[in-house]
Symmetry: C2
Amino acid sequence: MTPSPKYITGDKAAINEFIDKFDTFLFDCDGVLWSGDHVFEGVPETIRMLKAKGKRTVFVTNNSTKSRQDYLKKLSNLHIPCEKEDVFGSSYSAAVYISRILKQPPGKNKVFVIGEAGVEAELAAEGIPCIGGTDEKFRRDVAPEDFQGLADGSLLDPEVGVVLCGLDFHINYLKLSTALHYLRKGAVFLATNTDSTLPMHHSFFMGAGSCMIPLEYASGQKPLELGKPSQAMMDAVEGKFQLDRSRTCMIGDRLNTDIKFGIEGKLGGTLHVLTGVHKKEDWDKEDAVAVPAYYADQLSDLGLVA
Amino acid sequence: MTPSPKYITGDKAAINEFIDKFDTFLFDCDGVLWSGDHVFEGVPETIRMLKAKGKRTVFVTNNSTKSRQDYLKKLSNLHIPCEKEDVFGSSYSAAVYISRILKQPPGKNKVFVIGEAGVEAELAAEGIPCIGGTDEKFRRDVAPEDFQGLADGSLLDPEVGVVLCGLDFHINYLKLSTALHYLRKGAVFLATNTDSTLPMHHSFFMGAGSCMIPLEYASGQKPLELGKPSQAMMDAVEGKFQLDRSRTCMIGDRLNTDIKFGIEGKLGGTLHVLTGVHKKEDWDKEDAVAVPAYYADQLSDLGLVA
């Protein structure tokens, strides 16, 4: 049986002990630092306090619509101390995987993107050519000639060897059908992440996984996922930051992504905060997908230190 | 062990015996009568022959984009003898279910549609009000104010009590997010059908199920399916045509919809034709979803009669 998570809110001794256990903190962003564009009270001060104590703070996000540069801007605007190197997003993770691990043969190295500018920017930074994405040519209704051209292959780019699927606010029938045809021709199927929902304004919208799932359903293939909880992402984070996993803690609001990511990555600890998607009752039930080691009402509760 | 299906192509005695066993033939359309706009050779003659022998011919289709009227037009254009009453589509099945079985309370009887004009026409014919569907207001990119308005409910119609999902060539983020919010507010979740793909031009495109699956994934709810192989559809067909199931045969090209539909409906027989999605090897494998009683290379093989 998994032991119950330790509740540290308001318990100064427990908080000090918790912070002392780790050198590096990996933070999920949405639901931990902010909700939409609203930063949670005390978050910038908490990050500053951790940095002042010599801790490394890394922001590990599944949001694929933003590049690391975009994230840096957002963090700075919200007065959260951060450098570009401290941001690790699922688009970046996917781009690194494609360029350094997958290594497609020449003539097959283009990526068909379902996603927004963040994916394109990270692919470009790794020197990977891509089509689809934000291209206006794909942001339109499907036409009769598309059916013919996709079926006979004349509308397909023979250099596409990968379909990469992230969150796409402009998802449509044409993009999905085009991606399906590349998959049927043998393209490698990757997903930045498979979160089913996107929390915004205290509600839930369609997440990256909900943009990808039609392709899984229609093709019968499952994508390799590069975001949390995929250990491909953990390996990339570890490789980049040379971290000691036993002295690293993952902080998040989702059991099935953040907490699972930390546990499967054999990190020294996981902290669940109750400002996002999952609540106490989600790990209390018998079939909980993952149980954190610690939990707190909110991130800024860590501020109660000596 | 299920006995192997009997192959009747070219076997005059077997074909005569097959035809004599049934009074009513239920035909799937795409993959049986035609592919896209191309009617298979000999199909009109075969239907005419069956009618001349006093058989009832009913066209049972999962294609939700067309109304019965649209289907009648298509069948007539392809010279397949048919009357409007002989057509039974999944949109019609859904409309009948909503109006006659579901019976939503007044003030909750509107349907939010993901789908094309066929769904709207069948709902209108049953006197059910609907929104969404082909309305241009939903055929656009999602905007920041949509996120706010969906989250706070100001963009939601309080009279919507049902989300009905069919094949939508104009599927987009706004429609899916709107439907998700209705589901989260307790709307009944229905699908015209859940076919993952749409066969066209000898290839496969996104089917109705692939338009619906993001909602299932994001909401965690499964829709009640009104098309084949749902027995809700079989009950409706039986109710309308007063047929003797033991003297009825389902003819189709998909094991998981058509053949399963006939077997679970306890029809007298099922005939699989090899002009569509599934092939011989699909029922030969151990975990085949359904095994037909008869099979033929093509529908017009029935023409070889005395």
